[in-house]
Amino acid sequence: MAQATSPPEVVRESGQARRYNSDAAGLGRLRAGAFAAPALLLIAVFLVFPALWVLYLGLTNYRLTGIAAAEPQFVGLDNLISAVSDPTFWSSTWLTVQFVLGSAVIGQVGLGFAIAWLLRDRQGPLKRLVEGLVILAWILPSAIVSFLWVALLDRDGGTLNALLSTPQFAPLLDHPMLSIIVFNTWRGTAFSMMLYGAALGNVPPSHLESARLAGASGWQQLRDVVFPHIRGHILTNLLLISLWTFNDFTPFLLTAGGPDGQSEVLAVHVYKVALQGGELGYGAAVSTIILLINLVVAVFYLRLLRSKK
């Protein structure tokens, strides 16, 4: 059958097209700038300025109280040097690494993906129930969930002890790191679960079926079809929750960094030295180090993301 071909469309005046490309809304530079200004101002006041202020404070002996509070002295890199030579700083860093690897990378990503994978083809009440519970853990305010977990894990009259009939078992004292890792896994799995749920929906069913027809096992299907397809999602997810977990302060509400600094992750460490110890300058210096570590982690993931091809 003959196909009708239409004459080529007359090319529009290209000058006009180019103008629309650089200025889609047609506002002009000044008015467009006016629209963006309030947001830029807020970002500058609440984000850029405090960050720069922290960098500056880290170079002073600024304190919460006393003479150094009124007239802080510039001390250069002294704070940074004393931070890296302080064993509590290094133990906090190591605890933070454990916290991130345990609760974010293994806990939230692993559990979130597992739930999303198991629920991928399911419909109905079971799926809604599981998703509802997981999301509930995520949306409740920190103060409330920490209280609930203290009530659960408490040595005297804790719910867990009542359930297991193990009086005097004190997870928060005997296994503080494990406690906050389990807590944070429970707390944050929803985000990963939802992200992977959406990502799995994008894996073409025919690719999975093709693998099944070849005889691929469940693990082989994951390795050869699912993971290559959602690689970008996995890396983005890892980037976000690694950074969130790294800077998370909620563990303080469960263990207050104790006992004896055994769960004093960096965010808690900064709080302790800066606000409880009053050494604002030193705390700011540690914050600067945290900022640098976050930057390194972010660059690492973004590099991986970009090396896609």
């Binding site: 003959a2 093709s210 099944r212």
Partner: protein
């Protein structure tokens, strides 16, 4: 290589939709078999049930001598080409072709050798290091075919193998697929919604509607003698004229015209009976002058088909279509007469062929 047999195969989805209603079908070894039907007729479900991607709710699927109804897809010894080809975007052509062998734990050396051999056979030798994203649609299809061939399965299943190609390429691929299937001699079932594709490629075909098989036969049988009005209306690039009529002694009264009883229905009709008269536009002799036993009427539409024209006549209150060779086409508004060929016209009683 193996025959495929379906015995009373049913598939009812949760919610009560009957996708397949107790189907029986036997596809002999080496046959190129088409499943044809409109969308939603169950043809894809049938193919997927043979593959094991859907589980049958009743009946049996037998491949070779083996009942595979409850067997996992990977253990059925079949291979499938998907509509979107389902090539893995992160693997190159070699890895894609040899993927099923890798799952079967064939060593890397023999695997690459086999991929190279099959790839060369399909003209892919200079593309073996490319990723699917760097290939054209036609090349992707050949990679998908190569992957299927590398498995040396008992039977091949193709789901709408040509629908992702553009029109020109589709005709080439049609010829290519048919030749390839003939050379390989592997039992092949393919699904299509395009009747021209089914007629052109298949050795035999099944026309499906709403979970039922309405006719099984060779393309010639299905085209020339559609078993019912559904198949009659579905097959053919120009739809068959299906006209209500009444038997009047030795002749038929159809659309206000007197026409002769078709050869195949002679002596099998009773006087006064209501029937449906079917004749393809291609089997009509058109003339501008009145003729014996013709449908007469005013020309309302003339459609150009290239080497011929499709002329629509208004005979009474129904439309009759006839194909007219180029050069003889009438103008809109002319009076025209179309004489059906007695040896090609068909009579349907209650929807079934007489």
């Amino acid at each position: 290589m193996a025959a495929i047999e379906l015995r009373g195969l049913s598939k009812v989805y949760p919610g009560g939709v009957k996708a397949l209603d107790s189907l029986d079908l036997a596809i002999p070894d080496g046959e190129f078999f088409a499943l044809l039907g409109p969308s939603g007729c169950g043809k894809t479900t049938l193919l997927r049930t043979i593959a094991g991607l859907e589980t049958a709710t009743g009946g049996a699927v037998v491949i070779g001598e083996r009942d595979v109804t409850g067997v996992q897809p990977g253990a059925r010894d079949i291979a499938m080409v998907f509509q979107d080809y389902a090539l893995f975007p992160h693997m190159d052509v070699t890895d894609n072709i040899s993927y099923p062998l890798r799952i079967k734990k064939v060593g890397k050396g023999p695997r690459r050798e086999k991929a190279a051999e099959v790839g060369a056979r399909l003209g892919l030798e200079h593309l073996m290091d490319r990723r699917p994203g760097q290939l054209s649609g036609g090349q992707q299809q050949r990679v998908a075919l190569a992957r299927v061939m590398a498995t040396q399965a008992q039977a091949f299943l193709f789901d709408e193998p040509l629908s992702n190609l553009d029109a020109r390429l589709r005709l080439e691929a049609r010829t290519f697929l048919k030749k390839l299937q003939r050379e390989l001699g592997v039992t092949t079932v393919f699904v299509t919604h395009d009747q021209a594709e089914a007629l052109a490629m298949a050795d035999r075909m099944a026309v499906m509607e709403a979970g039922h098989i309405r006719q099984i036969g060779t393309p010639a049988e299905v085209f020339q003698r559609p078993a019912n009005t559904f198949v009659a209306g579905f097959i053919g690039s120009t739809p068959m004229n299906l006209l209500d009529g009444t038997v009047r002694g030795d002749t038929l009264e159809v659309a206000g015209c007197k026409v002769a009883v078709p050869v195949t229905a002679e002596g099998r009709l009773s006087d006064g009976e209501k029937i449906v008269y079917g004749v393809r536009p291609e089997y009509m002799a058109y003339s501008a002058a009145p003729a014996e036993g013709a449908f007469g009427g005013r020309v309302v539409i003339v459609e150009n088909l290239g080497a011929s024209h499709l002329v629509t006549l208004e005979a009474g209150d129904v439309s009759v279509q006839a194909v007219v060779p180029e050069g003889n086409e009438p103008a809109v508004g002319d009076d025209g007469y179309a004489v059906p060929r007695r040896d090609r016209a068909l009579i349907y009683r209650d929807g079934d062929l007489v």
